[in-house]
């Protein structure tokens, strides 16, 4: 993907997930209050994942490294900015998931788990401030939805690229021939 395509994806995902500048400010405002609990959220997330038989083999030998990466990502969720660099980073995360051959449902499932954990945390932080709780939950939902969209886009592209490689290998077609064939049938 070039910068123009990343920019398109950025705008598309922001529009779809409803991320606004106010939400970005809200998330940044939450950073100091959420940061002390990030490791706890991460630990809790991986504890649930380890109980899922299909997920466990992908985690077992690299749990510490994964937790470290996860904590760094959580920090970025509450610090932003949610611009091209963030989109590129999340797109790469999707790529890594594909290369590790993680089933596609892992991303949506994981995001659901993280969303629940963060809602619980925000519920504790803002137990006496319902308006702030609603505002925070909305911002978290939007940014996690935004992130998931970007990662899934990458997943889709990477999967298609992998499938194409297989197809070319099986048929013996060169990449150039395939491109010429596709170009000949471009509307």
């Amino acid at each position: 993907m070039d910068d123009r395509e990343y920019e398109q994806l950025l705008q598309y995902a922001k529009q779809f997930s409803g991320v606004t500048e106010d939400m970005e400010n809200t998330l940044q405002g939450l950073y100091e209050r959420v940061k002390p609990h990030m490791a706890e959220v991460t630990d809790s997330f991986y504890t649930v994942l380890l109980d899922i038989p299909k997920a466990e083999p992908f985690l077992i030998d690299r749990l510490d490294a994964l937790k470290e990466t996860h904590n760094r990502w959580m920090e970025s969720v509450f610090s932003g900015p949610f611009e091209l660099d963030y989109v590129k980073a999340m797109y790469r995360v999707g790529d890594v998931h594909v290369k590790a051959e993680l089933p596609v449902e892992f991303m949506a499932g994981s995001m659901a788990l993280i969303t629940t954990r963060l809602h619980q945390l925000l519920g504790t932080i803002f137990k006496d401030e319902p308006e702030k709780l609603i505002e925070s939950v909305s911002a978290v939902n939007s940014i996690l939805g935004f992130t998931l969209m970007v990662m899934q886009q990458s997943y889709e592209s990477s999967r298609l690229a992998e499938e194409l490689e297989k197809f070319l290998k099986i048929t013996g077609m060169s990449r150039t021939l395939f491109d010429n064939l596709a170009s000949a049938y471009k509307e």
Binding site: I170, T171, G172, M173, S174, T176, L177, F178, N180, L181, S183, A184, Y185
Partner: protein
Amino acid sequence: MREDMLASILSDLNGSSADIEASAVISTDGLIMASLLPANLDEDRVGAMSAAMLSLGDRTASELTRGSLEMVLIKGSQGYVVMTHAGEEAVVSVQAKSTAKLGLVFLDIKRAAEAISKVI
């Protein structure tokens, strides 16, 4: 110069039999080098599709232990498409009538392919 020579070979091929309706020389990447095609056919599509079919034919012959590929023959209700290599870098694609005498068509295509491989 080379294009003229290829066009001349195709012209001879199409003239060699009333059964042959159209022909083209295509790079193995699917690009047209020379062609004598009816106006209703898209050169780019004929080129890319023929090269793709021949590539698949190569792989099929090999996978199904039929030795090296000699040609790919497609029979439709309106006639035949015959594709064969012309050297290592080109493909000849020929369209023939449904009533064509295939033995003669194959012979003409083989001669044309040899001539084309010398030019390329």
